[in-house]
């Protein structure tokens, strides 16, 4: 425990700026993945253990697209849309069969998907760790804000993820589709009775969740390694976010993701040997105090 370091950091503007920006970036990337997870759970009742694998696929698609075209935009689109498509296929052929079944069954099917996709990825791209180059446009020296250091690409990342978050909030809150989705989460039977095709709604929701995960994978490909099994740690963190934020709540996911982002960045200063542990500790506390999560609704 290094509380002295933490205190001096909190007292210094440069440190606060550096750590807050790092925390925001880590948190927002996590939010993209976790929001998809929580959306899928909230509406479809499916605990998508394969969500981390969708993130990994997004990184691989982006890597290949960038290698083929040299365009960052193409890479991001390939990651997002490619995984959305993969997600739709997964949903239609496999996952729709296990909606509403026992969690154990869902876990088994999703774990099977993880194993299969990890090996497919190894066959197609090889078992080696790969790197996507950071595009020239982002190779700028870091920004100095009040003495704090903010890498240029992190600003870009934050901009993109914040825009997506706003789009998601707007979409869920103010469009007809968003209302339908929220209704389907509460009472699918009634939504069906109103003549709305719930199968399409479910597929669309899964597609959106997958798109978000794939997008996150594509955005992080230039700065993290692209390797089979890359989905595991982000999956675990997404679950922590979902538990803390409340399953099914996007706002909860946002709050929890940012909380985890800051825990990582400030935690590495104050609790360098316990940063991971801290995240789990917070999750445990939330489970004890408010089991449905910070913004979760009490499940009947």
């Amino acid at each position: 425990m290094d509380l002295g370091e933490l205190a001096s950091c909190l007292g210094s503007t440069s440190c606060v700026v550096t750590q807050v920006s790092a925390g925001l970036t880590i948190g927002m990337l996590l939010f993209l993945v976790a929001s998809g997870l929580t959306l899928i759970f909230g509406v479809l009742g499916l605990v998508n253990f394969a969500h981390g694998t969708l993130y990994m696929l997004g990184a691989y698609f982006a890597l290949s697209a960038y290698g083929a075209t040299g365009s960052f935009l193409a890479a991001v689109l390939a990651g997002a849309l490619g995984v959305a498509l993969a997600g739709l296929v997964m949903e239609r052929f496999l996952l729709s069969r296990i909606y509403g079944t026992d969690v154990l069954m869902q876990l088994l099917v999703c774990y099977a998907i993880i194993l299969i996709l990890d090996d497919v990825v190894k066959i197609v791209w090889g078992g080696d760790f790969l790197k996507m180059d950071l595009p020239e446009a982002f190779r700028r020296p870091p920004l100095l804000l009040a003495g704090g250091i903010v890498p240029f690409y992190y600003l870009v990342l934050f901009g993109i993820t914040a825009a997506i978050a706003l789009l998601l909030a707007f979409g869920m809150g103010h469009t007809r589709f968003g209302r339908t989705v929220r209704a389907a989460a509460v009472n699918p039977g009634m939504v069906g009775a109103l003549g709305i095709n719930t199968t399409v709604v479910y597929a669309a929701v899964f597609g959106i969740g997958a798109l978000l995960a794939g997008l996150a994978g594509a955005l992080s490909a230039p700065i993290r390694s692209v390797v089979p099994g890359a989905g595991v740690s982000i999956l675990i963190e997404s679950f922590i976010v979902t538990v803390i934020g409340g399953m099914g709540s996007i706002w909860g996911a946002l709050a929890a993701s940012l909380l985890l982002g800051f825990t990582r960045s400030f935690g590495s200063i104050g609790f360098p040997l316990f940063t991971e542990g801290l995240m789990f500790l917070i999750m445990a506390l939330v489970l004890l105090v408010k089991p449905s999560g910070l913004a979760g609704k009490r499940q009947a």
Partner: protein
Amino acid sequence: MSQSDRGGLGRRNILKAGAALGGAAISGFPMIASGQGRQPIKVGMPTILSGRVAQLGVSSRNAVMMEVERFNAAGGLDGRPIEVIVRDSRGVPAEAARIAREMISSDGVDLLLDGEPSSGGFAVHEVVRESGTLTIHLNSETSSLTADPKQRFWNAFRVARVGIHDSIAGGAYAAEIVKARNLKRWMTVSPDYAYGRDTTAEFMEYLRHFAPDVQVIGETWPKLFQPDYTENVTRLVQGRPQAIYSCLWAGDLVTFVEQASLYGLFNQSQFFAVNMADYTTLQQVKALPRGVHSGNRYLKNFPDVPGNLSFAEEYHRRYNTYPTNWSWQSATAVHLLVAALKKVGGTDPRKLAEALRGMTIESPFGADGKVTMRAEDQTLVGYAIGWGTTIPNDPYVEGMKTADWNMIFRLEQEWKKAKGWA
């Protein structure tokens, strides 16, 4: 009714089967046909062929196969070839242990060439402690694997470079730089497992032995194979050290350097990365910072002898890539094994172990043209260790300074005494 009408084995069928078996015996079962003499020497090799460090495991396997094939082509051991079974542990120690057990009990291997890094290496070590299989650890560098008497038993040897040797050599080199550039404030960033912890502690101990003013003002310990180092980088940025030490390796080091460059970390701090000078790593870091201090993992021009260069060139011709640290270590293991096999004339593990203990062979990777398998603790000594600074292009490292083995032996002995191991 004849037997064939009843569908049983007719006389014709028995004759056919007999002829087939006889033919197979002559052509398909050469072992039985020519007796024990041609039976291959079976070697099991668990290693990592997928994930963050796949390149290293592949390079280890490549070197083993290259040297084994050379041995087999020259007639093997009186006509007995070495047959290598390679399996992927995916970097999971429990899997490495399982593979080792399987190779010993199901595949019936005569000996193991353990291609795991320390994480898996210790797991395999425990398996062979029970089984009594002759094992050479190719790539596990954690010092305690051979330095700690509790870890020592007759059938396990280590050919990999040892953390303590690198730390002493590195500490001596770094101390020169510290004095020249007045680098007093240090921080460390190393992976959180035995190798990372031990090696970092050792380097710092020797650095302070040679340059007592050095202060470690902070440490950060990312997990092995951690995907994102942002929190570690910001911790380092925050500390504003004059110099940073890291024993991160392979994919981890590449990712860390990339993420640290985003923060401009190397503009403010001198970076001492013991594992940087490996071609895999050097070629994957897109914007290799100039002036990073590194030990020689594998460099084709250090030692600057023809044998080393030809090893690199043959390897490159076969595999279209350059050897790594794991490659020279694995090749040396095969050289030692071959020498022991020739001395013993067979695969009796006790006799092989006896032959290996204290064996010295000529080697292009030796500091003085030779390497020795030290009898006292069954680990390799006398291999070339040097430190220099990185440049962006081939040969990637310049200004190599060779470490003095007499100094290493002296300080290593003191270190062992201090630990109660000597």
